[in-house]
């Protein structure tokens, strides 16, 4: 079992990097076989066969996502961008079969202030973290939005 304080510090730091649009800092947290997944289905195992996702990035595509968000000339990103802060809570740490890896579940509430409205995004994140020399890397991050099966606004930021 990893030190809980270290795990919490990692999850909080990741949240802050996302909130502050530090795309490079966030991308540096990832391991090179990382998968970033925001499914539509709350329980993908309930189906056999392919299911479409909101986000399903392997590492090269994640790099592209970060490049696109950073560009500054992407209309949707510009229009959707607003001041944002998230609270992360309900952290639970589990051991997994793979040595050197842990699974961390956490809930988040994310508020985004844009010109005409405040958006609220809520969900649960499952991090698969891998212990590197003295620090964690993200091997997998799955975000279950509570409204993933409903119509959502555009998701043009890191969640």
């Amino acid at each position: 079992m990893s030190d809980r304080t270290a795990v919490e510090a990692f999850v909080y730091r990741e949240a802050r990097l996302m909130d502050e649009f530090d795309y490079d800092g966030w991308f540096a947290l990832w391991d090179e076989d990382g998968v970033y997944h925001v499914p539509v289905d709350p329980d993908p195992s309930a189906h056999t066969g392919r299911r479409v996702s909101i986000i399903r990035d392997d590492y090269p595509r994640l790099q592209q996502r970060v490049d696109r968000l950073k560009t500054g000339s992407v209309l949707a990103v510009e229009g959707q961008k607003g001041a944002m802060r998230r609270l992360v809570s309900n952290i639970e740490i589990s051991t997994v079969d793979t040595a050197g890896e842990i699974e961390v579940g956490s809930n988040f509430i994310l508020g985004i202030a844009r010109t005409a409205e405040q958006q609220l995004w809520i969900g649960r994140t499952i991090h698969r973290l891998r212990q590197h020399v003295g620090e964690f890397r993200i091997a997998r991050k799955t975000v279950f939005l509570i409204n993933s099966t409903h119509e959502t606004p555009l998701l043009q930021f890191l969640i």
Binding site: V40, R50, I54, Q64, D67, A76, T149, E151
Partner: protein, 425 residues
């Protein structure tokens, strides 16, 4: 006396469309939206869903025609039916779940129950009805008309009107072209849907979806560059040399981007074994010449008036909620009979481009929201859709065609819209 809001006199709904101009109120006026419901959404054929979404007896999905809730159900007899999602007793929403499988539907209010074929099973406490309650007369109400084309199920609120075949008309040629991307001629919408919404009028979606070549190089510049880097396929090259007859308006308000005359450069990398297997299967089905042509060109993008789009990877459904709010559903299209790797790639490409977090469609959604803000400015209240007006051609199917970036298709859409919204057709 009321102050005049606009520099121009108010425009009658029968006069919203000129040859190459559309009045701003068509996107803004709640009365016009109400008339659209009556004259368009509750009159013409509307796409409801695909048979592959309800493969087994008892499978159902909730849908909407205009603002009216409907259910598409495959009955225990294997027949797919479209019913109003409303209890015959006191009009409660019968089924809340978005999708599922059920032998029967039980209304949560007073527990009247219906078979998945629509018949009333039990009007609870029926001894209280002091007359002979005819169960047969209280089944779920089917839509007035229902028909399908190659698995695409349409329904109409109106008792009378054109047949589905007449409504679709010349667009079946283009529907065939994309459905025949499956080596067995069947598509599957079995991966679910991404759902988003925007604060803008529904008509922005068909207009925007069918003109990637005019706005693409500007709006999608970043995404196109990333896509080219990933796949070696330079989408922006489609717009560099304009090709005749790419943009098509068809009778019935349908629109097409027809790329048969615009071959794409083959990818530089060698085709994978799955790709070779797929090409071989396509040749077996369609013959060398047609299969070769389909492989050399991009399948058409198409819009079936008023709510069905096929765009590169998926079927897109446009669902108005109000004059300035629209829901959009993206259903990836899988090709039955194609190698797994081909469908895996299609789904992956779809997720790259589409949905609320994709690299392309969010730019379009953002533009539509800004369009709805821009259109509040009524100073000169006419939109201009005149590109290529001087060079558009009449086509044998009764439609017109234009060059790659022309607005011929938009003029066709609006001509049809004006005919439906005006007094006569």
């Amino acid at each position: 006396m009321m102050a005049t809001r606009s520099a121009e006199p108010p425009v009658d709904y029968r006069n919203l469309v000129r040859e190459a101009q559309v009045h701003g109120s068509a996107y803004r006026d709640p009365e016009i939206f109400q008339r659209e419901l009556e004259r368009i959404w509750y009159k013409v054929w509307v796409y409801v869903g695909h048979e592959s979404e309800v493969p087994n007896p008892g499978d159902f999905v909730r849908r909407q025609i205009g603002l009216q809730p409907v259910l598409m159900v495959r009955g225990r007899d294997g027949v797919v039916r479209v019913f109003y999602n409303r209890c015959r007793h006191r009009a409660n929403l019968l089924c809340l779940r978005e999708a599922g499988n059920s032998d029967k539907f039980v209304c949560p209010y007073h527990a009247w129950s219906y078979a998945n074929t629509g018949e009333l099973l039990e009007p609870t406490f029926d001894e209280g009805y002091d007359y002979d309650l005819q169960k047969e007369a209280f089944g779920l109400t089917p839509l007035a008309r229902q028909d399908s084309y190659r698995g695409l199920i349409f329904a109409s609120v109106a008792e009378e009107g054109l047949s589905l075949a007449e409504h679709l008309g010349a667009i079946t040629e283009f529907l065939d072209l994309f459905i025949d991307l499956s080596p067995v001629g069947e598509i599957m919408l079995d991966t679910g849907a991404q759902k988003t919404q925007y604060r803008g009028n529904w008509k922005y979606m068909p207009e925007n979806s069918m003109e990637g070549d005019y706005h693409g190089p500007f709006l999608h510049q970043v995404a196109f560059a990333l896509y080219a880097r990933r796949t070696g396929f330079d989408v922006s090259a489609l717009a560099t040399g304009e090709v005749p007859d790419v943009i098509r308006s068809l009778p019935g308000g349908h629109m097409v981007e027809d790329y048969r005359g615009a071959p794409i450069d083959p990818p530089k990398r060698a085709p994978s074994p799955s790709r070779l297997e797929y090409i071989a299967a396509m040749k077996t089905r369609h013959g060398d010449e047609k299969a070769g042509q389909m492989m050399r060109t991009m399948a058409p993008l198409l819009y079936v008036f008023p709510n069905l789009l096929y765009v590169i990877t998926h079927i897109r459904v446009v669902q108005p909620a109000s004059v300035d709010r629209t829901n959009v559903y993206y259903y990836p299209v899988m090709l039955k009979g194609a190698p797994d790797e081909i469908n895996d790639m299609r789904l992956s490409d779809h997720e790259f481009m589409m949905g609320p977090a994709g690299f392309i469609s969010p730019d379009d959604i953002e533009i539509m929201e800004r369009n709805q803000i821009g259109i509040q400015a009524e100073g000169h209240d006419w939109l201009y859709i005149g590109r290529g007006l001087h060079r558009e051609r009449d086509m044998p199917d009764g439609g017109r065609s234009g060059m790659t970036m022309d607005e011929t298709h938009l003029r066709g859409f609006w001509r049809h819209y004006a005919a439906l919204m005006g007094d006569g057709e």
